[in-house]
Amino acid sequence: MNRPRVTPLDFDQVVVDDVSRHFGRRRALARISFIAARSAILGLLGPNGAGKSTMLSLLATLMRPTSGRIRFGVLDVEIADERAPALRGRIGVLGHDLFLYPELTARENLAFFGGLYKLPDPNRAAFAALQRAGLADRADDQVASFSRGMRQRVALERALIHDPRLVLLDEPFTGLDDASAAALVARLKALRHAGAIVVIATHDLDIAEGLLDHAVFLRDGRVAHSAARPEGLRSTYRAVMGTPGA
């Protein structure tokens, strides 16, 4: 896989320490703490509005915490810090929206982002990524003509094209059929095996079951429960949230 030319700031864990985030008077997150470790998949679980996406935005350095700190390994990087661009080069994000340009082809999208991530040969990296996604034969088709599942696969490759250390995924299973979901699960396990720090925000407890190394249950912007090697996610979810579950 292509490596970025920028000198990366590498890290082996992400420490979220007493982080809060407010939007005006509305509190989105309150005093969140957890550690996401290398070679592990951490799940952020909770209902809509629990603060999962906000937490991912904070981890992606798209927002600043109102209070508290996020440390990437030993680095305590502020968003405006001169090291922040190099840190962003080690983060890959798959959002609920797919961050793809529908007017561009799959290859152009991936080559564009490969170029932004300063890969030595973005076109080759794009084609290799499309082969991994099983879409090499659609490389020169506009993304607008793709199904949701195909777009999701291209978006995942976009998020991973620069071989990030920290992988942030927001509802990655939305709109995927069983085969695509299984392929994504296999890819996440491969990332874990390769030493990535994977953080997933998801509602899909059935798929998350058996995949997560650590689960953080969020409710109303607070950590309601946290468990290592979680089992029985649905029953835990019901007990923690006090609802029938996702």
């Binding site: 970025p4 920028v6 992606a60 350095t61 798209l62 927002m63 600043r64 968003i79 405006a80 661009p85 190099a86 840190l87 962003r88 080069g89 983060i91 994000v93 959002g95 929206d97 797919l98 961050f99 793809l100 340009y101 529908p102 007017e103 561009l104 152009e108 564009f112 982002f113 170029g115 932004l116 991530y117 300063k118 506009q142 976009r158 620069h162």
Partner: protein, 224 residues
């Protein structure tokens, strides 16, 4: 940083060449605007004195606002602006890339508007092409510098279509006035190049101030 700027500009132009959405809407709107003024103000083949400069800049400002809104609407639809902000490059590179794309689109519109206004209002706009280019280009940069920043800021605001002109026009009034006065100076029977130079110098100073402020504020505005 230069590579990121180039990639963003090239991407924006590729998307526009494929869709032609902004070019068509902007040009259609700008040409309609000029034609309306021509039908309203040109009487028996006689255009109003000194009207051409104002009409040209009103058309540029309105068309520019439309182009700014649509350009960032495109980045909002798949949240691609967030993806650009995640790139491992200084975030002002994203601003500069978007700014250059907007300027390129407006230059295309102006390449059609200038001869059209010149023809319909019998204005010798092309008599001093270098100075006209200087006035139009520096004015376009100043207008786009503020517009790009505001359009990026408002990308997630629900009422962005209303807020963009409300915020943009008061701030860019000095640019529009300098553009109108500089263009009007070029339309005088005896052109005083000293006056034109003054307005171009003023526009350049607006450009420097607006671009510097935008580069300085882009990252904090986009992350909080």
């Amino acid at each position: 940083m230069l590579q990121a700027i180039w990639l963003i500009v090239r991407k924006d132009l590729t998307v526009e060449v494929r869709s032609r959405e902004i070019a068509y809407t902007t040009l259609f709107f700008a040409v309609s605007c000029v034609l309306n003024f021509a039908f309203a103000l040109v009487r028996e083949g006689r255009p109003p004195q000194d009207g051409a400069a104002g009409i040209l800049w009103i058309s540029i400002a309105f068309a520019g606002t439309l182009a700014l809104g649509r350009t960032f609407e495109r980045e909002r639809q798949s949240e691609t602006l967030r993806a650009l902000l995640l790139a491992p490059t200084a975030r002002p590179a994203v601003y500069v890339g978007k700014l250059l794309g907007i300027i390129a689109l407006l230059i295309v519109a102006e390449a059609i508007l200038v001869p059209l206004v010149s023809l319909l209002f019998q204005a010798p706009l092309l008599a001093h092409p270098f100075w006209l280019l200087a006035v139009v280009l520096t004015g376009t940069i100043g207008f786009s510098a503020v517009g790009t920043l505001f359009a990026a800021m408002l990308v997630r605001a629900r009422s962005r279509d209303v807020l963009l002109p409300v915020l943009l026009y008061p701030i860019t009034v000095p640019v529009i006035i300098a553009g109108v006065r500089g263009t009007a100076a070029l339309l005088q029977p005896e052109v005083d190049l000293g006056v034109v130079r003054f307005w171009v110098a003023l526009l350049v100073s607006f450009d420097v101030v607006f671009v510097t402020l935008a580069l300085w504020t882009f990252e904090p505005l986009m992350t909080d």
